[in-house]
């Protein structure tokens, strides 16, 4: 029954996220047709500096359908929106409900706090997994509609990387929700951390190779065909530590 309750608590965040990401995934797909038509004009772009380098890199990547999908979907749209929905799904929970009612009722049931937190975390992570995998699977499914092919293995590997690394943001929001009673501070703080990390990866030279968004996008797999094992293990360890911290924090609290 706790699974049902967790589902009731998070279903709208999940369903809205799923619907939105599926629409964006379809949009990305059909955007390729327009991008390909504009590609002959790309040679006339004459930007210099870091921005110019990035534009040229994007143009080179988008010459191939695989590169276009990775850049537009996995590195940009899904990484950004996936992070946002990971934070949204991680926010809330037992302590947050204390301000809106229901916490004492849940705590009066014969279920340990670890179980309450565990079920809530597992439900959220399962929803996050569906959020990143299902829209990504639309790409191999719908690509033939625009005369292209996209590997289902690539879709699964990239969305898998995004799930594992993105779970750290879910876990951060989950931990913060056991610290703050309102739903807003965990959300805003976790988003701020994500933005700070993204900005650091974009501006500090050499840092992006070790950054979490680098792992989320599966860039190593895209370029070399290898999984970013070290990054995946590191982010898994961070997520586990954050979730453990959340359960410990919940266990010691008075309600």
């Amino acid at each position: 029954m706790l699974w049902y309750k967790s589902w009731l608590d998070t279903r709208w965040r999940f369903l809205i996220g799923l619907g939105l990401l599926m629409i964006v995934a379809c949009g990305t797909l059909f955007d390729y047709v327009a991008t390909r038509q504009l590609m002959p004009l790309a040679g006339s772009i004459n930007a210099t500096g870091e921005i110019g380098r990035r534009i040229k890199e994007a143009i080179e990547l988008e010459r191939e359908y695989r590169g276009f999908v990775w850049l537009q979907w996995f590195r940009q749209n899904l990484s950004q929106m996936g992070t946002l929905f990971a934070v949204l799904l991680g926010s809330g929970g037992l302590l947050s409900r204390a301000s809106g009612g229901g916490a004492l009722y849940m705590l009066s049931l014969p279920a340990s706090r670890n179980r309450l937190a565990g079920v809530r975390a597992a439900t959220g992570l399962a929803e996050f997994l569906v959020l990143v995998v299902v829209p990504s699977l639309l790409l191999p499914l719908l690509s033939p509609a625009i005369g292209q092919r996209y590997s289902i293995v690539d879709a699964l590997v990239h969305s898998g990387c995004l799930f594992v690394a993105g779970a750290a943001f879910f876990s951060l929001a989950f931990l913060l929700s056991t610290v703050f009673g309102d739903p807003w501070r965990p959300l805003l703080l976790a988003c701020f951390v994500a933005l700070a990390l993204a900005a650091s990866e974009a501006t500090i030279q050499g840092f992006s190779r070790f950054g979490i968004f680098h792992v989320m996008s599966g860039e190593v797999y895209f370029r070399n065909g290898q999984l970013p094992w070290l990054g995946l293990l590191a982010t898994t360890a961070v997520s586990a530590a954050l979730l453990y911290g959340a359960t410990r924090n919940l266990a010691r609290q008075d309600f």
């Binding site: 029954m1 608590d9 009612g101 009722y105 849940m106 014969p110 340990s112």
Partner: protein, 299 residues
């Protein structure tokens, strides 16, 4: 019920920051009793209940429910499995409908009594398809009571069960409670600051003040033991202190001296007559008077 006491606390203390909510609370709740836990707002009643249910941890002291330590997580789960609880705010999941929250709660209790569920659904006329957040305070209380009673609990803990209810609903809730306890073998522990309510349904009572139990025992024993002795003198009442045990309070106003005794009146009467009063009268004491005398004497 094998344990003589369903709830036992000994020197229970709880501090929130620098504020002491409980200051050495010792209470024993006999199995099968309806135990009223009486105290003013902020006396520590809710804190005590939260400790019993594992929602708060004691700073020191001991709290046992069914002989199990309440501060241990696993034992606390077992305590909650055998206990029905209604919180002061009738805290329920607002996002569910009445039907959903009944189904949800039923899933946690293998011994859930469907017959009682159906009976209280009819008695309380609960609207199954309505969201909990849209229920009135009275209907919400009835739903909370249904959820607590239908789980076939051996112990029912109610925190200010009639708080915020109009007199008609209060009466309906109390009558349902008494009728339920008369049918089922269970112990009821309920906190209240309404003396009349405790007087109406409880057979045992503890009066708590500033985190300590100032009186605890059977209600009939308390009524039997407490006496108000009124002495009228020809002149001003003398300022004396009694040696006899059980003097709860002595008050002098002009020619009248009032002595409240907690342990019978005989020995105090002997001392009082020696003072040479013009008249001596002994009156029984109501629970309200006992409450006011004991709680106010602490101020």
């Amino acid at each position: 019920m094998s344990d003589p006491f369903v709830i036992e606390t000994a020197d229970l203390r709880k501090s929130y920051g620098g504020v002491e909510a409980l200051r050495g609370l010792t209470v024993r709740v006999p199995a099968g009793s309806i135990y009223g836990f009486l105290g003013k707002h902020g006396a520590g009643k809710t804190t005590m209940i939260k400790i019993l249910l594992g929602m708060a941890r004691p700073t020191s002291g001991r709290a046992l429910v069914f002989g199990l330590p309440a501060e241990t997580e696993q034992q606390s789960v077992e305590i909650r499995r055998r206990t029905g609880f209604v919180s002061e705010d009738k805290d329920l999941d607002d996002s569910m409908t009445v039907e959903e929250i009944i189904r949800f709660t039923r899933g946690f209790y293998p011994s859930w009594r469907v017959d009682l569920e159906q009976q209280y659904l009819r008695t309380f006329e609960l609207p199954l398809d309505r969201k909990v957040r849209k229920l009135s305070r009275g209907t919400r209380t009835k739903l909370a009571l249904l959820l607590a009673l239908s789980r076939a609990a051996r112990l029912l803990i109610l925190d200010e069960p009639t708080s915020g209810l109009d007199p008609a609903v209060t009466e309906e809730v109390l009558q349902s409670l008494v009728a339920h306890v008369a049918r089922e073998e269970m112990t009821v522990f309920f906190s209240s600051h309404h003396i009349a309510e405790v007087d109406q349904v409880a057979d045992h009572v503890a009066i708590i003040d500033r985190g300590r139990a100032v009186i605890a025992g059977g209600l009939d024993d308390l009524r039997e033991g407490y006496r108000r002795i009124q002495l009228v003198f020809d002149g001003a009442a003398p300022d004396v202190s009694f040696r006899a045990p059980g003097v709860a309070r002595v008050r002098c106003e002009g020619r009248v001296m009032t002595v409240v005794s907690s342990d019978g009146a005989e020995r105090i009467l002997e001392e009082a007559r020696a003072l040479g009063p013009r008249s001596v009268d002994v009156f029984p004491v109501t629970l309200k008077e006992i409450f006011l005398e004991t709680v106010s004497s602490e101020d």
